[in-house]
């Protein structure tokens, strides 16, 4: 049970600043996901929380106690590594019980805790195997078991699912969600996969270029991205963003000449770009929508259809439509933008607040 607080934390390697002005208050029991493109500093931040990387500047507190100079072993935090980092020369049981062994726990207690965790993870028949005799998914479970057995104050996950195939990834994602429900322990989870972020997190921290872009619940990030980076990073397929110029107080004009009315949007007067998620673009008869487009590629997903189009003078726009669309490459289409879901961005990329939302 732990509250983690980062205040003005920074990380420098020599003169290179990889993280700066990190302020984050993680409540007890919260599931926080750090997400961002590779090289954004998310893993470094996690390793600083773990104590594996020294903190260059600022303070890191667990339950109000400053941790900057406390060794990893004394922080009482467990971590699941991307490579799992199972000890190759120890069997599954010893791997899972290693932290208790180090702390000098009684053998009987250790055995029962390992057995319990093994049962919970479906590893009870594998306890005497060496890691090399396990499949990827089983290794992943052992790595989680190793973290569970010691009952730590907080769990850290460093891209734990990235070495698994797609089906296993979904299964393990659910497993982790269940684990959090059952234990209620604070968890910090690093991933570059936004689906994992959206499905697991209480709150998501989006990082880019060593700076926190936005902190918020999955829905907040999806509906009210703070800037263009977050808007395009969160949500799949990626949000369409096109250049736009103010046209009156409540409308913008696009490069193709189309005028989009945004009656409830107070930022229209300062807009430089308009963003619209593909699922908020409707495909209509040519000439009846906001934009006239030519279909480029149609992807039929069964439940949905991805329609990649090109709008003359504007460039590519993608629409995602429920069900099936009988369109073909080269067809002329009309596109309608749902104004209540449009996002406007200023010249510096910051989102302009939408009223009424």
């Amino acid at each position: 049970m732990a509250r983690l607080q980062l205040t003005n934390v920074a990380k420098r390697y020599g003169n290179v600043e990889v993280l700066r002005d990190i302020n984050l208050d993680i409540a007890d029991g919260e599931f926080i996901v750090l997400v961002g493109p590779s090289g954004c500093g998310k893993s470094t931040l996690l390793r600083m929380i773990a104590g594996l990387e020294p903190i260059s500047d600022g303070d890191f507190l667990i339950d109000g106690e400053r941790m900057n100079d406390i060794r990893p072993r004394d922080r009482d935090i467990a971590m699941v590594f991307q490579s799992y980092a199972l000890y190759p020369h120890m069997d599954v049981a010893r791997n899972m019980g290693f932290s208790m062994e180090i702390r000098g726990a009684a053998t009987a207690e250790r055995t029962s805790r390992v057995a319990e965790a093994g049962r919970a993870l479906g590893l009870d028949k594998l306890l005497e195997r060496l890691p090399k005799a396990l499949s990827g998914g089983q290794r992943q479970r052992v790595a989680m078991g190793r973290a569970i057995v010691r009952d730590p104050r907080a769990f850290l996950f460093d891209e734990p699912l990235s070495n698994l195939d797609a089906a296993l990834r979904v299964e393990m994602r659910l497993e982790i969600a269940r684990l959090h429900q059952r234990l209620g322990t604070t968890m910090v989870y690093v991933t570059h996969d936004q689906v994992e972020a959206l499905t697991l997190a209480d709150r998501i921290v989006v990082l880019n270029g060593g700076i926190i872009q936005q902190v918020g619940s999955p829905l907040e990030l999806y509906e009210r991205p703070a800037n263009r980076f977050v808007a395009q990073f969160i949500g799949s397929p990626t949000m369409n963003v096109v250049a736009a110029a103010p046209d009156g107080a409540s409308a913008v004009r696009l490069a193709s000449g189309a005028r989009i009315l945004l009656p409830n949007h107070s930022g229209a007067g300062r807009a430089a770009e308009l963003g619209i998620r593909p699922e908020h673009v409707d495909v209509v008869e040519p000439g009846t929508g906001d934009l006239d487009a030519v279909a480029d590629v149609i992807e039929h997903l069964g439940s949905d259809t991805n329609v990649y189009t090109v709008v003359e003078g504007l460039g590519p726009i993608m629409a995602r439509v429920r069900g099936n669309v009988p369109a073909r490459s080269g067809d002329r289409l009309g596109l309608r933008i749902r104004p209540e879901h449009a996002h406007l961005f200023a010249r510096d990329g910051r989102a302009l607040a939408a009223t009424g939302a």
């Binding site: 104590g51 020294p54 903190i55 900057n68 100079d69 406390i70 060794r71």
Partner: protein
């Protein structure tokens, strides 16, 4: 008093315990013993050795010790034995290296193919590398001895020698004795390094070449050799230096004789230091050898930068 001291101590220990300090200090604890050892036993003596070359230090003449400037080098310049040793060093290194490389490359190519009993074969042909050098030297010296060794008789039978005699006693042929021992001892090293390089060539390249219709010879010259080139360059350079410095075989087999026919610079250094106990002159020869090797290394690196693109 007590109060200030406690405060000072706790300040230090807090700084020491801080994660950042630990992070900074730790590697030096691990690397320290190695650095100390190398500095004290190799680098300091190296500097002292260079300084010896400007002094007169002969243990047999303890009263003539002192700084003499470049006198040792002047003597060196006039020393016919030095120039002979220099020439011998060149031939010793060149012939040893050529045979080691040619045979080593052949062995590496063989070991890169499949055949029955390969593991055992590899262990056996690499065995000479494990034989202590002094024993390699003695073994080959004995092989060249007509009383107990077969080689003189075979060479006589082949018409290379007029009669079975010991070539180690013949000034014209003596150098071939240590060279033979050196080749025998050194082939495994070349074979191993080249084999490692061969095995690092991606198999897809060979498959692609085969699909493109390349002949075996084309594959060798267009793929294998270019890939091996950087490894060959670095191995040859390091090996040249190593062989030029390698005095054991010659010292044991011929002691530099007969009539200095096998004296190379490194054996000259050793015999001058060991037999004459003339440390000043020995150091001057050693510095000259070091200088030559450095010139060689710089030249080779320059050539390499020019021709090898990887």
């Amino acid at each position: 008093m007590t109060a200030t001291r406690t405060a000072a101590t706790s300040g230090i220990s807090r700084a020491w315990r801080s994660a950042y300090m630990r992070y900074l200090v730790e590697p030096y604890l691990y690397v320290g013993p190695a650095v100390a050892m190398i500095a004290l036993v190799m680098l300091v003596p190296l500097v002292i050795g260079i300084s010896y070359s400007f002094q007169s230090i002969t243990l047999l003449k303890p009263f003539e010790t002192g700084w003499i400037g470049l006198e040792n080098y002047a003597t060196l310049w006039r020393d016919a034995k030095f120039w002979l040793a220099l020439e011998n060093t060149f031939w010793w290194t060149l012939s040893s290296l050529t045979f080691q490389f040619a045979l080593g490359l052949g062995l590496a190519l063989l070991l890169n193919t499949q055949f029955y009993g390969k593991r055992l074969f590899q262990a056996l042909v690499f065995l000479p590398w494990a034989v202590p050098t002094f024993l390699s030297a003695l073994t080959w010296a004995w092989l060249f001895n007509p009383v107990i060794g077969p080689l003189p008789h075979w060479m006589a039978a082949l018409g290379i020698l007029s009669e079975p005699y010991n070539i180690l006693g013949d000034p014209d042929l003596a150098m071939w004795g240590p060279v033979a021992a050196n080749v025998w001892f050194g082939v495994p090293f070349f074979a191993i390094t080249l084999l490692a390089a061969l095995q690092s060539i991606p198999g897809e390249l060979y498959e692609a070449a085969e699909i493109d219709g390349a002949s075996a010879w084309q594959v060798f010259t267009k793929i294998t050799l270019p890939f091996l080139a950087p490894m060959i360059a670095i191995t040859v350079m390091l090996r040249t230096i190593w062989i030029a410095n390698f005095a054991d075989l010659i010292f044991v087999m011929t002691g530099g004789g007969p009539a200095n026919a096998t004296q190379i610079l490194s054996t000259y250094v050793f015999t001058t230091a060991f037999r004459k106990l003339d440390f000043g002159y020995a150091s001057a020869i050693a510095v000259a050898l070091l200088g030559l090797l450095m010139v060689y290394a710089v030249l080779l690196l320059a050539i390499r930068r020019r021709f090898v693109k990887i």
